[in-house]
């Protein structure tokens, strides 16, 4: 796994590829959310990603920091559901805490702070069937500095599938109690999709 030095073009491509992939999962995410939530996670994520796609070529940026802040602000103001606030806060906080020329260590630090802020906002922690059940294991995997970004992608998918057995304790799904068990969490699934898309682009660097 190489450090997080990505060229501007590559960064732009990464954002586009990830946004397009999330949009392609709109129907699937809505179906998952219909089972245990209000059925709009795909629509909401898709709205945010379309806004991102529409704006990414217009913005100028010099660093990963700028891109993360831009993504965070865009998602917060365009998704229109709790996921916008949560994902937006994750990216925005990461951006605000990352230095201009990040190393693996400073990236991990910024990711850590982003997750912390997201936990505070959602008053949540792991094992509650949320996006945290994917992004926290992913951060742990990055800390171990595996050989390939594909290993991180795999961690995300395994972690996402683990939410099937979990009982939801946050969001609308929590009102279902035990009936939430047996369903893949839509937020965990969208996190998995995002992480996998990013890793797909980064592994070209290996």
């Amino acid at each position: 796994m190489k450090p997080f030095f990505v060229s501007e073009d590559k960064l732009r491509f990464m954002v586009k590829h990830t946004a397009e992939t999330v949009i392609s999962f709109e129907v699937e995410l809505n179906e998952l959310d219909s089972a245990i939530g209000d059925g709009d996670h795909g629509t909401n994520m898709s709205r945010g990603c379309k806004t991102l796609l529409g704006a990414i070529d217009q913005i100028e940026y010099d660093s990963l920091r700028d891109v993360l802040i831009f993504i965070g602000k865009t998602l917060i103001s365009s998704i229109g559901g709790a996921s916008g606030a949560l994902y937006g806060t994750l990216f925005l906080t990461m951006g605000e805490n990352i230095d201009e020329n990040p190393t693996t260590e400073t990236f991990i630090d910024a990711f850590d702070q982003g997750i912390n802020e997201t936990m505070i906002l959602g008053s949540s922690h792991v094992n509650q069937k949320t996006i945290l059940d994917v992004i926290v294991p992913v951060l742990d995997a990055i800390k171990k500095q595996p050989d390939s970004f594909l290993d991180i992608a795999q961690v995300a998918s395994i972690a996402s599938n683990r939410t099937i057995a979990m009982k939801a304790e946050k969001g609308r799904a929590s009102y279902l109690g035990d009936r939430s068990i047996g369903h893949l969490d839509p937020g965990a699934h969208s996190s998995d999709i995002i992480i996998r898309s990013i890793c797909e682009v980064l592994c070209d660097y290996e």
């Binding site: 709205r47 103001s77 229109g80 996921s83 609308r172």
Partner: protein, 132 residues
């Protein structure tokens, strides 16, 4: 000007928010600023941080602002809107975790007497959804 707090109604639905605010307006004596917003930027169900930020500023009172929400994204996006305020203003805004209509109705009936945000929070403690 008076010392009464302001009230913001945030719902997933623009219609629900407007109706609740209209009802509050009819039931109180116009000494309380009431603002409302609901729905996402496309006009569908959801919530929008920019609209909530605008509603807080429109209902602003130096005595504080009480926000009533209908769960989920309305609560979490209200938290983001509060984080966008200056440090001084931030301390004067509270999200109430009561049922939207009942909490807001109870609040206008006590807030027109100039009660502080803290005092109102104490009165409404028994209505907290966390007690369910």
């Amino acid at each position: 000007m008076n010392n009464n707090i302001g009230i913001v109604i945030v719902s997933h639905s623009a219609e629900v928010a407007r109706s609740v605010a209209d009802m509050l307006g009819i039931m109180c004596d116009q000494s309380i600023n009431i603002a409302h917003c609901g729905g996402n930027k496309d006009g569908g169900l959801g919530s929008d941080v920019d609209q909530i930020t605008a509603a807080i500023s429109s209902a602003w009172s130096d005595s504080g602002v009480a926000i009533f929400v209908d769960l989920g994204s309305t609560e979490i996006n209200s938290k983001i809107a509060i984080k966008r305020l200056s440090k001084d203003k931030m301390k004067k805004v509270a999200i109430f975790d009561t049922p939207l209509v009942e909490g807001a109705l109870t609040t206008i009936s006590i807030a027109s007497g100039g009660e502080s945000l803290n005092e109102i929070q104490k009165v409404l403690k028994g209505m907290s959804l966390s007690l369910l």
